[in-house]
């Protein structure tokens, strides 16, 4: 058996998460995102890159940022003014009114109204400004991550599982959204409110202020206790609900198998257990609240009683006015209100910080296949491909494609033959520049692939793979992916050319059938036909088919086979196929073994020779008799 590394078809199952990534010392990119313990230097660099990212998001929105900060400070000052004005009214306006002077009363009344209007409008303004700022930053970040993900080379996508890339872009950004959405605005306003309330209390009566500071001690402990435990509860609730959801979704999407194998009872029992676990974690987190909320009320109320006791004596002693006491009571009652939100904020802050670390790591990842700075234009490619001293390996890994020179004249149809793992797909992928060669160069019409702009390259070279991925949308949309500006007529023509027209018209809504809608009922063979039509429509100079017909049934394959000759007419084509019938339409056959081309010739030459292909062909001839 050959020792060729199996890169093409991975028989080895891959772990979805925490793929065997080497432990890294440097903390750039995504390399250490799964490591729980980072040393101090790494920690620092991870944090620096998060802050750098945050800074780069704020910078373009500097004005909005300053405006938002301005609004939060002044709205909270206005909000705090109310009780002090009431106190003024009772202590000063009332006595002076008794003496017949109403000026102070009107002053107090008008000041109160102004403060009220200011507080309300500034708060509303702040809510809106904060939302605009955070949405602007979020949009920027979303686009950056999306664009960067698309830019990253296939090598990265193969290593870093799709599930993780998706969660970077969904749940991690969601965590940031939550923080920006409610967290920041409630933290900023809550914090400002507490600060200004405390200042006002000190100004009104500093001994009461000291009393409040004493009350803040147990409050701090309570808040910290709650924050710590609620985070644990929140995490375990996430874990448990994820299990429940997976089980639920698996049952519903696999309902045929569930029914056919009579799994209803076992499933329901399992679901009962999971639902009960979920109930328990829910109860636990509600109970935490059940201690925290009354705790807040208790500390607040005890403080009010203490303020009343302390202030009452001072009023009796004449060192404090009644109205001022009322204001102090109102202030101390309200002082602790934001604590609730701030404890919650801390949790969303932590998950957002973790998310930001991961996202910034992804953004730091450098694409290994980069577009050129000064691309050489190539308008109408002919399709001449030349390998000049090409060698390929993944990073520092073993050589996959040993040094080779190869010329594929424009318009030639090449069949790549070789056993699984021989390197056929890798060869195809370097021609499509999914990977860059490690040594030497591949040129198209004399231009190094690395010198071509992505637009020119993709217009000239198209690769169709076995897994025919369809995007949500109609059948027509999916074919049009090959040429976005194509008319319906062109789309239908492409479908006809590859023999897909008949089945498409028999779909419920023909070309407008939504491929992902349940009941769309598009089989894997039909998917391949659609992706074939897509390639036909793109009309590239070089077409690479990597087992693109493997799922077709015999009549469809036959149709494709007929269309193929037309399709390949005068373009350069590379075909990787299982079945020998495909090879017959090739101008030239390359037999690949351990990444090297071991036989090269026309099908007829190779058959008449005495190499591997000849033996193979002879055996096949025998089997037909």
């Amino acid at each position: 058996m050959s020792a060729a590394p199996k890169q093409e078809k991975q028989e080895k199952p891959n772990r979805r998460t925490r793929a065997g990534q080497p432990p890294s010392i440097i903390s750039s990119g995504v390399s250490n995102e799964d490591e729980v313990m980072l040393d101090r230097a790494q920690n620092k660099s991870v944090r620096t890159r998060s802050f750098k990212l945050l800074g780069s998001l704020i910078r373009p929105n500097r004005r909005q940022f300053i405006w938002t900060a301005f609004l939060v400070v002044f709205s909270q000052i206005a909000r705090v003014a109310g009780p002090a004005i009431i106190a003024f009214g009772i202590d000063h306006a009332l006595p002076s009114l008794l003496q017949g002077d109403s000026a102070l009363l009107w002053a107090a009344g008008i000041t109160y109204l102004i403060a009220a209007v200011l507080a309300a409008t500034l708060t509303a303004g702040y809510v809106l400004a904060a939302a605009r700022l955070s949405q602007e930053m979020l949009l920027d970040l979303r686009l950056r991550v999306f664009r960067h993900t698309q830019r990253l080379s296939l090598e990265f996508h193969e290593k870093y599982t799709s599930g993780r890339i998706i969660s970077r872009q969904t749940s991690d950004l969601e965590a940031l959204r939550e923080l920006l959405d409610s967290g920041v605005s409630s933290l900023a306003s809550g914090l400002m409110y507490m600060i200004f309330t405390a200042v006002t209390i000190f100004v009104l009566d500093w001994p009461t202020g000291l009393l409040l500071l004493v009350a803040a001690i147990p409050m701090t402990f309570l808040a910290r206790w709650y924050q710590k435990h609620s985070q644990i509860a929140y995490r375990s609730s996430r874990v448990v609900s994820a299990k429940l959801i997976v089980h639920f979704i698996e049952t519903m999407t696999g309902i045929r198998a569930v029914k056919a194998f009579r799994r209803e009872k076992v499933n329901a029992d399992r679901y009962d257990e999971l639902a009960e676990d979920y109930r328990k974690v829910t109860v636990r987190s509600i109970n935490l609240n059940g201690v925290f909320q009354p705790g807040l009320v208790l500390i607040g109320n005890v403080t009010v009683a203490a303020v009343l006791l302390f202030g009452g004596f001072r009023v009796l002693g004449g060192s404090l006015e009644v109205g001022a006491l009322l204001a102090l009571l109102l202030y101390s009652k309200r002082f602790f209100q934001p604590v609730d939100q701030m404890a919650m904020f801390y949790n969303s802050f932590q998950s957002a910080a973790a998310a930001l670390e991961k996202v910034s790591g992804l953004l730091e990842e450098v694409p290994t296949v980069r577009p050129p700075k000064n691309p050489v234009p190539l308008k109408d490619a002919q399709g001449l491909i030349e390998f000049d001293g090409v060698e390929f390996r993944y990073g520092d890994g073993p050589v996959i494609l040993p040094r080779m020179d190869l010329t594929i004249p424009a318009g030639q149809t090449i069949a790549l033959v070789g056993q699984t793992g021989a390197g056929k797909s890798t060869l195809a992928k370097v021609i499509a520049r999914f990977y860059d060669v490690s040594e030497g160069s591949i040129t198209l019409d004399g231009v190094d692939l690395r010198q071509l702009s992505p637009q020119d390259l993709r217009r000239a070279v198209v690769m169709v793979t076995q897994e025919a991925f369809l995007f949500s949308g109609s059948v027509a949309d999916n074919i049009a992916l090959g040429k976005p500006e194509a008319s319906r007529e062109e789309i239908e023509q492409a479908a006809r050319a590859v023999g897909a027209h008949d089945f498409i018209t028999s779909l419920p809504e023909g070309y407008d059938t939504d491929v992902n809608k349940r009941g769309g009922r598009v089989s894997s063979g039909q998917r391949q036909l659609i992706s074939f039509a897509r390639a036909f429509l793109a009309d590239p100079a070089v077409l690479i088919l990597d087992e693109a017909t493997s799922s077709l049934d015999i009549p469809s394959e036959r149709l494709v086979q007929q269309g193929l000759q037309k399709l390949l007419g005068n373009r350069t084509a590379l075909i990787i196929a299982h079945r020998l019938s495909t090879v017959e339409i090739a101008d030239r056959v390359l037999v690949v073994h351990d990444g090297a081309v071991v036989e090269d010739g026309t099908p007829a030459d190779l058959i008449s020779g005495n190499g591997r292909f000849a033996t193979l062909h002879a055996a096949w001839q025998d089997s037909l008799v």
Partner: protein, 606 residues
């Protein structure tokens, strides 16, 4: 589908579940009321204190007493707040969990046709967020709505008692706030829903852009993908800002109106105090009470809105719960302990329930008999109805005309449990569950002593020996939460699962399509033994699969057009030749042929 119901009717549907916990809910209500009483009582202490104790320079003992009373009331409030949760949480979460599990059971029993119509995401949001919402409404919303209404009324009454002109001023501000609060919540939840939907769409785009990265790269369409994504993301931003705008307006109105009223009250109150129409203590108590009541005013609109959202959740829940199961066993089923396994299709026709009336039936009068122990290959072009026909045998769908019989007994006369014990299936799209390999393969096996032997045998027939080299062998977890397997590996496990069930009737839908030719050959060799005495209906796309069968049924446009052996059909049917034979030759797999060559080379060298 969704029927229009009034709020009251919807709530009544929930009543059977609420009934057992009503005593606890009432206790919770009383606790919440208790807390409200404490909150409203504290300002009264202030009043007495200011009017009687402080103003006239009385003994210091009254300050002690007043503070003591405030302390006791304050502690009691905290206790009552805690008690409400204590009374309500456990029963409410229990009701939630019961609803959740019965929902799941019901869904599992509903016919496959139902699941074709409903995406699993739709069902999930009903099982998770809707039920969470219902629980929160039971434990919190409903109780607080009642308590707030009472507190509000009592608070306003107290304020009237303190000073009716001041109370009137307050009320003119409070009523619009309540009405607006309700309207706001309703429209806000609509916008929230929209933003949730848009975020969901955005996530779908992200998923596709990652899963389809090869296609996007191959056609150089990252730019277009980014444009589409960017449009969606901007839409989402607009919705979010729209949300923030209505939130800002809400906070403007809700804070401004009561504050304006308080400002007016301040001036009026002092004027009144000068005339002696209100005491200073009364004024103090008024402001303290107004502070309490204003909070409730803000809250009552959202609580009402929450009630209506809960109603929608209840309706959505019962919409599924009241969907009828269309595929059920008969009241007194026939049993057949040891069937021979003769399967007859008698003028069977079928159309999907969601098919348009104008479309033709998918299965249109199929007549076919499988003798006991016979293997029948089903051959036809894509879309002729083969897969659909197979799904009728385990009653995943019911025939819409004619009948299918096992040993002469209509499928519909068996219990579903028994029918599906006799019939095992393996479909093209293989579903494995998050579980061990063992569990997945033995799914259709009723617990027995020789499980291990059955497992080994089934894995061997399906050539699924790769499982032994998995990290934990047959106990390795696979599926969503475990290892992911390749298509060929999954297919072999699905086949092993069907074989392990040792059914009388085996239904296989192109079970070898993802296997390479060499493995396919090995599987076929072993499968022949199993199929020898099992009645089997097998969809075949390749001659090699047909070779497993005793006879072949050719399917065309939902009918069986020919039945015979492979050779007979080759000789007499053009359509059969068209479907099963390449124009010139039988396809040969190059890869495995080369592999064999390689093997021979090495042997020669050795």
């Amino acid at each position: 589908m969704p029927t229009q119901t009034t709020l009251w009717e919807s709530l009544r549907r929930l009543y059977p579940h609420l009934k057992p916990i009503i005593p606890r809910l009432v206790l919770g209500l009383f606790a919440a009321l208790g807390a409200s009483v404490m909150v409203l009582a504290i300002p009264q202490v202030f009043r007495v204190l200011v009017n009687d104790a402080l103003a006239e320079g009385q003994a210091s003992s009254t300050v002690w007493i007043a503070s003591g009373i405030v302390l006791v009331l304050g502690v009691l409030e905290a206790v009552f707040v805690a008690l409400r949760r204590f009374f309500v949480i456990n029963p409410a979460t229990t009701v939630e969990t019961n609803l959740r599990t019965s929902f799941y059971r019901h869904l599992q029993n509903l016919a496959v046709a139902f699941h074709d119509r409903w995406g699993s995401g739709q069902l999930l949001s009903r099982a998770m967020s809707d039920l969470n919402l219902m629980r929160r409404w039971m434990a919190f919303g409903a109780i607080m709505l009642v308590v707030d209404a009472i507190t509000l009324t009592a608070g306003v009454a107290i304020m009237f008692f303190m000073s009716w002109p001041l109370a009137l001023i307050f009320l003119t501000a409070a009523v619009p706030v309540m009405i607006y609060g309700f309207r706001f919540r309703t429209s806000y939840s609509r916008v929230s829903r929209k933003s949730q939907d848009q975020a969901g769409d955005l996530a779908t785009t992200v998923e596709e852009s990652v899963h389809g990265i090869r296609v996007l790269k191959a056609f150089g369409r990252s730019r277009e993908a980014l444009d589409a994504f960017s449009d969606q993301a901007e839409e989402l931003r607009e919705t979010e800002i729209h949300k923030a705008k209505s939130l800002a307006t809400f906070s403007l109105i809700v804070t401004l109106l009561p504050e304006l009223a308080l400002g007016a009250s301040l001036v009026t109150g002092i004027l009144l105090a000068v005339n002696g129409d209100v005491t200073i203590g009364g004024l103090v108590a008024f402001f303290a009470t107004a502070g309490v009541v204003a909070g409730r005013v803000e809250f009552i609109g959202p609580l009402l809105a929450m009630t209506f959202t809960a109603k929608t959740a209840i309706d959505r829940h019962y919409e599924v719960m009241e969907s009828e199961n269309t595929i059920t066993g008969p009241p007194d089923p026939r049993t057949l302990p040891d069937p021979h396994g003769e399967v007859t299709f008698d003028d069977v026709s079928f159309r999907y329930p969601d098919a348009k009336d104008t479309s033709t039936s998918v299965i249109d009068g199929v007549n076919l008999t499988l003798r006991a122990g016979e293997t029948m290959a089903l051959v036809g072009v894509t879309g002729c109805g083969k897969s659909t026909l197979l799904q009728l045998v385990p009653r995943l769908y019911d025939v819409t005309g004619g009948a299918i019989r096992i040993d002469g007994i209509d499928l519909r006369e068996f219990s579903l449990e028994e029918l599906r014990r006799h019939v095992a299936v393996a479909f093209e799209d293989t579903t494995l569950f998050s579980n061990s390999v063992r569990e997945n393969v033995l799914m259709g096996v009723d617990a027995q002593d020789d499980d291990d032997a059955i497992l080994t045998e089934a894995l061997d027939v399906a050539q699924a020996h790769f499982v032994y080299s998995l990290p934990e062998g047959v106990d390795t977890l696979i599926g969503e939460e475990g290892l992911s397997l390749s298509g060929g590996q999954r297919q072999r496990l699905a086949l092993a699962r069907a074989i392990a069930a040792k059914p009388r009737v085996l239904v296989l839908d192109d079970p070898l399509s993802a296997l390479d030719v060499r493995t396919e050959e090995l599987v076929e060799e072993r499968l022949r033994e199993v199929l020898a005495d099992t009645t089997t209906l097998i969809v075949a796309h390749r001659p090699s699969t047909v070779a497993l069968a005793d006879r072949v049924a050719l399917m065309e446009n939902g009918r069986i057009s020919e039945v015979g052996t492979h050779t007979e059909l080759l000789a007499r049917s053009d359509h059969y030749r068209y479907v099963i034979a390449s124009l010139t030759e039988e396809p040969v797999d190059l890869d495995s042929e080369l592999e064999e060559l390689e093997h021979n080379d090495q042997e020669a060298r050795a």
